[in-house]
């Protein structure tokens, strides 16, 4: 990105002109992507007393509450021999990752309105840069999971090697709707109120505190229209191994829905981003 490998390029600006250099520009602005991601991480726990420990406290307390409410009080069944706490945590991990990405990324364009109205760069960098914060908190939660598994003596099998794939899926499931919402929020601030609501409801309609097997078999496929079902099942499959077999048709449906939403998100974002600075 020095002036030598960024040659004197010719650029035409015109209304409605499809920007052929767009994806190349994203590559050229990769440093900005990293620095924005770094900024969000660096700023997150400044002037807090216990700092990064917050990343431990929140998921841990949620896990305890869910285990007590769903496992002990409601007496919902676990999967195979897996301890209920591990089951809950394996669901909580992708859920927290996805919901924090959805929340942060969808608001990211307007929280960075100062940048949008004063400098040019491919706007799609902004929502993607917020993913880093979610991933770091996710990494911390993963450590708790390791602790909880050790406590219960749960040993993962080879399935665990595929966990990174499901992490990527969790990010993609969240970023699609987040991009769409980020673009819509610029125009209609109403969506600012809708997203937290979706996240709140989503926690209960997704299999976070319980196993997907609780849902009657004839409803399984329909239930999988919620893409988080596929992601959470994938996590449990990777972490609990043989105790939690993956229901493949359901998983495929979830991934199709996720792919559709991702396409819609990118498409909407790309179509509207040239007007962001007018409206913001």
């Amino acid at each position: 990105m020095t002036s030598s490998d960024r040659p004197s390029q010719r650029l035409i600006l015109e209304a409605g002109r499809a920007d052929r250099q767009y994806w190349g520009d994203i590559w050229r602005y990769r440093e900005l992507f990293f620095i924005l991601a770094w900024r969000d991480v660096a700023v997150r726990y400044k002037q807090t007393v216990i700092g990064l420990a917050w990343a431990f406290v929140r998921p841990f307390v949620t896990m305890v509450v869910f285990t007590v409410v769903f496992g002990k009080l409601a007496r919902l069944p676990t999967e195979g021999d897996a301890p209920y706490a591990v089951l809950v945590f394996a669901g909580l991990l992708p859920w927290t990752l996805a919901s924090s990405i959805l929340g942060d990324a969808s608001n990211s364009v307007i929280t960075n309105s100062q940048l949008v109205s004063k400098v040019y760069f491919p706007r799609i960098i902004i929502p993607f840069a917020t993913v880093m914060v979610g991933l770091i908190d996710f990494g911390v939660s993963l450590l708790i999971l390791v602790g909880v598994m050790a406590w219960y003596g749960v040993v993962p099998d080879w399935h665990i090697l595929l966990l990174p794939v499901f992490v990527v899926l969790a990010v993609l499931v969240a970023i699609g709707p987040a991009l769409w919402a980020a673009a819509m929020i610029v125009k209609y601030r109403d969506f600012r109120f809708i997203i937290p609501f979706v996240v709140q409801v989503g926690l209960y309609v997704s299999p976070v505190g319980f196993s997907t097997k609780v849902v009657p078999p004839e409803w399984q496929l329909l239930y999988s229209l919620n893409p988080m079902v596929g992601v959470i099942d994938g996590f449990r499959w990777a972490i609990l191994g043989g105790d939690s077999p993956l229901y493949l048709p359901g998983f495929a449906v979830s991934m199709l829905v996720a792919a559709g939403m991702l396409w819609l998100g990118i498409h909407t974002f790309r179509r509207t981003e040239r007007g962001f600075a007018d409206l913001i």
Partner: protein, 428 residues
């Protein structure tokens, strides 16, 4: 090299703005109105249009039919009233806004400086913000690293470089922000009004830096209301008015065009204030005592300055006459030259009639300041009275003695008629 790096053709930008037609104090009416508004916004949303506040929507052209070409290495200033569309134009050229009509062709790497310190984060330290801001302005980490020491030295905040910028004073913040921007090295640079921040000393530093940039062979588009700076930094000026380009040519003529339209709308001036005084208004008057922006060479200078003082005896009024290059030409001080200090309290109008000067034609301005006895400026207004000399003919013939000829700015006048006599070999 004289190839075109920026070409704008028929450039236009339309915004949608809303108006509140009338307010109603009656609850029922207000409810009906907001219900109607709700319906309209709902319909807008279904059609995919943006939400606009107000009952009535107006299309508004912030820029219309603008054509120009900028060649490599040219330094061009863009001047115009508030709302003339200058920022909008720079935003289109730097790809922040999309033009509604027309097209722009750009050749070369562009950086734009629409404000200093874009993206600075309060919680981050000075050092961290240099990297953040650099990346936002389009510099690579390598480039920032290579210039880091220079940037810090230029800003003069070395001691606080690892302190969060929220602990900085406003001035330190501005210095650091400008320093990063000042070290941008792109082929094409757009600068919008960023010199308006900071104290006088800092502004001078910024100006020096800008003239270094301008003379380094880079292409610069420069927006400013500071006509002295504009004249000193650039040769060519583009004047925008109501979104249209009304003049494109030599800077002196551009400034003349602009100030001609300026004097008609001079009503609102806010020059701020000093610690003990404020210069409220200042005008050059013609022979009939009306405000003017042209001076007739060889006539008395009649000035009228309104000043407010608060609890400060002994303040003097000082004037600096400057030429188009912002160089000082003449000086007057009420406390030193005529031992007339300003009253210590209240609002007063000072009327000055100064001896005639035979000025060359071109642009000038008066800087006006109030000064305490120790010659410390209390309130200074640079470029308080911009004016021009339309034509200067010291000999009364058609010859125009111009500032730009390079013979200086004053025509020397004879004290008595010139006598030329044959030289006699021996005095009688």
């Amino acid at each position: 090299m004289s190839d075109v790096v920026i070409r704008a053709e028929k450039l236009g930008k339309k915004f949608i703005i809303g108006h509140q037609v009338e307010y109603s104090a009656i609850l029922g009416e207000a409810l009906v109105r907001s219900a109607r508004g709700l319906l309209r916004r709902g319909a807008d949303m279904l059609r995919g249009r943006a939400v606009v506040a107000g009952d009535e929507i107006e299309e508004f052209w912030a820029l219309r039919d603008v054509d120009f070409e900028i060649k490599r290495g040219e330094v061009v200033s863009i001047i115009g009233h508030n709302g003339a569309g200058k920022t909008t134009m720079l935003k289109i050229l730097s790809r922040i806004l999309e033009p509604t009509l027309g097209r722009v062709e750009l050749n070369g790497r562009v950086a734009s400086l629409l404000e200093v310190g874009t993206g600075f984060h309060q919680e981050l330290t000075g050092r961290e913000n240099i990297f953040l801001n650099g990346a936002i302005l389009g510099m690579t980490r390598q480039e920032v690293l290579a210039r880091f020491d220079e940037i810090v030295a230029f800003s003069g905040v070395e001691k606080f470089i690892d302190t969060p910028v929220k602990r900085y004073s406003v001035g330190m913040y501005a210095r650091l922000a400008f320093s990063v921007a000042a070290h941008l090295e792109t082929e094409i640079l757009f600068v919008d009004e960023v010199l308006a921040v900071g104290d006088a000393e800092f502004q001078k530093r910024c100006l020096d830096r800008m003239s270094a940039v301008a003379s380094a062979g880079r292409t610069v588009l420069f927006v400013s209301h500071n006509l002295a700076a504009v004249a000193a930094l650039t040769r060519r000026g583009i004047v925008l008015k109501g979104g249209r380009l009304i003049f494109d040519g030599p800077i002196e003529n551009a400034i003349a065009q602009y100030s001609a339209s300026l004097s008609k709308g001079k009503a609102a001036r806010d020059w701020g204030r000093g610690h003990h005084s404020a210069i409220i208004s200042a005008d050059l008057l013609d022979a009939q005592g009306r405000p003017t922006d042209t001076y007739e060479p060889g006539t008395p200078f009649n000035l009228q300055v309104e000043v407010e003082t608060a609890n400060m005896p002994g303040l003097g009024l000082e004037l600096h006459l400057r030429d188009a290059n912002n160089l000082p030409v003449a000086f007057y001080s009420s406390s030193i030259f005529s031992q007339t200090p300003l009253p210590s309290e209240g609002r007063h109008v000072c009327r000055l009639s100064l001896q005639p000067l035979f000025l060359a034609s071109g642009e000038y301005s008066f800087d006006i300041s109030t000064n305490s006895l120790t010659i410390v400026v209390d309130h200074g207004v640079a470029n308080a009275i911009p004016f021009q000399v339309a034509a200067s003919s010291p000999g009364g013939i058609a010859y125009d003695f111009k500032q730009s000829l390079g013979h200086g700015v004053l025509a020397m006048q004879l004290a008595s008629p010139l006598r030329i006599e044959p030289a006699s070999s021996e005095p009688a």
